[in-house]
Subunit: 393 residues, 2 copies
Amino acid sequence: MRNFEFCNKTKIIFGKETEERAGSETAQYAKRILLHHSGGHPVASGLINKIKESLKKTGVEWVELTGVQPNPLLSLVNKGIEIVKKEKLEFILAAGGGSAIDSAKAIAVGAVNEGDIWDFFERKRTTDKALPVGTVLTIPAAGSESSLSCVITNEAGPWKRSINYPCIRPVFSILNPELTYSLPPYQTACGIVDMMAHIMERYFTKEPNVELTDELCEGALRTIIRNARKIFSGGENDYAARAEIMWAGALAHNGLLDTGRIGDWASHALDHELSALFDIAHGAGLAIIFPAWMKYNIKEDTPRLARFAAKVWGVDGAFYNYEQAAREGIFRMENFFRSIGMPVRFSDTNIDTTRIPEMAKRVVHFGTIGNYRKLEEKDALAIYKLAAERDEW
Amino acid sequence: MRNFEFCNKTKIIFGKETEERAGSETAQYAKRILLHHSGGHPVASGLINKIKESLKKTGVEWVELTGVQPNPLLSLVNKGIEIVKKEKLEFILAAGGGSAIDSAKAIAVGAVNEGDIWDFFERKRTTDKALPVGTVLTIPAAGSESSLSCVITNEAGPWKRSINYPCIRPVFSILNPELTYSLPPYQTACGIVDMMAHIMERYFTKEPNVELTDELCEGALRTIIRNARKIFSGGENDYAARAEIMWAGALAHNGLLDTGRIGDWASHALDHELSALFDIAHGAGLAIIFPAWMKYNIKEDTPRLARFAAKVWGVDGAFYNYEQAAREGIFRMENFFRSIGMPVRFSDTNIDTTRIPEMAKRVVHFGTIGNYRKLEEKDALAIYKLAAERDEW
């Protein structure tokens, strides 16, 4: 186990009707805020009106910035920064999923740091200053509601890049599982894969003696899988199942599950090229990349993949050799992803496989990717090819 | 799942040689502090000298208050409050186990709240103000290093009472597993039972649909059991095993494992009478009480105890009926406690069984105990009797 620090100051407010507390929680930080969201579903569902009522009650004034899209764009972030500076706003309240929250986090950094915000994403500089951000979560997926991460797409490239600063962890996040009843099944499924990916990125480590976090990761994955099955078997409005998924999504990315180890994150990098070039939803891209990444790693660390198969997918190790168990685990994972409507191969999507060499080159822009196994361009090429072929093993 | 709030601001600094950071972490809060510890082992081991060196380097001055004992006493707390006020100290750094930390927390409350500190423990009033507390942990057990709890013994009674305030959560806690190599086996074992008890108090709930936290609890318990076996099989200086135990002890009581549910805590109350009247170590008392409490509850909620047996103790539910599985689980738990040198019956200790009626009366001083099942005096009597008899079932 590696030495580590763990400190997560986000106040989680979880449960039914908790969105009514948006005003009183925000008022503890500021009286003039930016209210940031897509302008679509949160408005149609009545959530934004509820939040505004709640803000009014506590005397909080807001300026509204709508238009956040999936894979949130740098242009809107820059617009937000301008508004916050001009209006002297002191807090950003994001309502929505990871996109709205990430957009809010980037605005929070830009508002108090002069110069080009994209420099931070290009790793040219770093900061420990940002405006406080609060969130009302509507899509359990990205875990951004209690994470220190933020991913923004610069449409000029297009480039999709991330920053990870403790100062952008939300000060509070309101999680009401009822708000997720109305999610389209495809979005629910993308969220489920996204949170599973956050756990798997942390689970695959070569750090020895991280038993407690292994157990926590495996338990969280089993909980997500069981409750996803409930939701996709007519349980769209099953509060209990939605609540397990929502809480698991926050824990998946709050930092607890990688204490004592270093996560891999190669699959996220591999997926970012899919969303940047083909606008594939993040979760859908991960459902394609993860099986391919695992297949590429079977020989690298067979016991780890066999354990994953046994503890998460119920593969009885005793009746298999390690490699066979590992393959059976990946097979079950693919079947699970398919069962909730996710693609598992490029051919299930609009991805143009002739651009695989270009993606492999782009993904190593900053050097090798991954910590579990350092991947170079040739490795990325092989993984993309595994994702492209239906019957490769 | 119940609505809940979760926010734990304690910064955990975990790993080898981390005690060297005591000075730099403390200096972020204050320049004049109370350094609080037992005066025994932490001095002999050289830890206190290391901490003083580290404080000196960052220009932090300290007043020292030693003499903390297991089941920390109100008289020392009052002495600490007096010193802090007189010397105008701004921070309390505790070095030791739960006793030193709890004593520090009580001093932190008394230092900024006028009047008799014991009033808080008698539930006559409450507060949200305390001096900041930091800790260097030497005994993984109580979980006080990141909890909002504090237990103090008033020797006038003797009464053992607790407070639970967010304002007494330590601002940082330094956890170096190497510091636990030198613990006597009895103390290691008491700590292991204590942290298991913290998880079991939370695990036994009648709240439905708390799957994620159930999984996390079960995984943490399995990790503790496996690594306890390593330590008690010649692994006293096994860093990996000590690290798993130390991290599990902090998570056991940091609030995560009871999100969405309400813990029981009857067993803690039942044990408090053992320590108040017979000075039984907290962990040892819990090793006696928990099996008795579980036996008393088998008919109350057989499936829950059967699940506990299956998931934590590996009892294969398919080959048992639920009640038989539940009993087998309790039997395995008792055997485990015995294997690490813990008592499991009153007859293994100096407890005078003629005082059982008195203990049963004292334990319901504030009314019924327990949330999983509300216990009255007659229930407490029955549980103490189960703990007294060797062959009662």
